[in-house]
Amino acid sequence: MARQVGHRFPGREFIVDPVRVEEYVLALGVEPEPDYRAEPGAVVPPGFFMYVTSYGAGPVHDLLDFDMFRTVYGGSEVEYLHPVRVGDRLVVTPEITGVSEKDGKSGHLTFVELTTEYTREDGTVVVVERSNTVQRS
């Protein structure tokens, strides 16, 4: 079943298009650097990879076969290995790297750690994101 440790989802292309980065900065209302412009070639804000592009690769609830009413995003750890620029074409490949279950006061909880690699066209891994998603039963 899809929710097993080691399950690697097929890579999907994600183009870091300027309008998408601009929308993200607009939603936040806080620029990653003063006077930031999401122009082709500009560095992509580090926060952009904290979950936004996992969605770009396919909604996480579907990937994990979770019920979105009972699912909460817990946070991410992102490693920036090489600068990513607006206009870059990336391949986004999520893999399930941890599953655990716990009984807590909110009921039975399933934690899934998803490790997503963002790869440039030449195969270089530019960003690695580890995100945590929790489903309550």
Binding site: A27, V44, P45, F69, V78
Partner: protein
Amino acid sequence: MSLQIGDELPVVVTPPIDRLRIAYMAVSMRDPNLVHVEDSYAAKSGLPSVIAHGTFVTSYAGAAISRAVGMDAVRKIRVDVTAPVFPGDVLRTHAVVTGSEPVPDGRLLTIELTVTNQDGVRVGRGTAAVEQPAA
């Protein structure tokens, strides 16, 4: 700017995270989760209203770092979302340098991060590693 252990980064105070901002983020993320846009759906999860995406919390923490040291200097950020963010909330970031070790081209700084709302509730917590070139 040359940061030392104990230095605090400039605080980022966010605009109110209103329903329009949450809608912008939902569209930007192509997020189909109605917990961010429909109160009746949020109620099914036991919430008093829609909530903002956790991405807001992680992103404001990231912005506090990048605004202080520049986007190119950021090597790693980790943020855990610890409480929901509701429409109208205003968040503040707190970031302090807690570690500094030498690396070939300068120093690798460790920064501890907290994000709190207008009531002092902690909504996010994490750490960052940034590279500071040799002076």
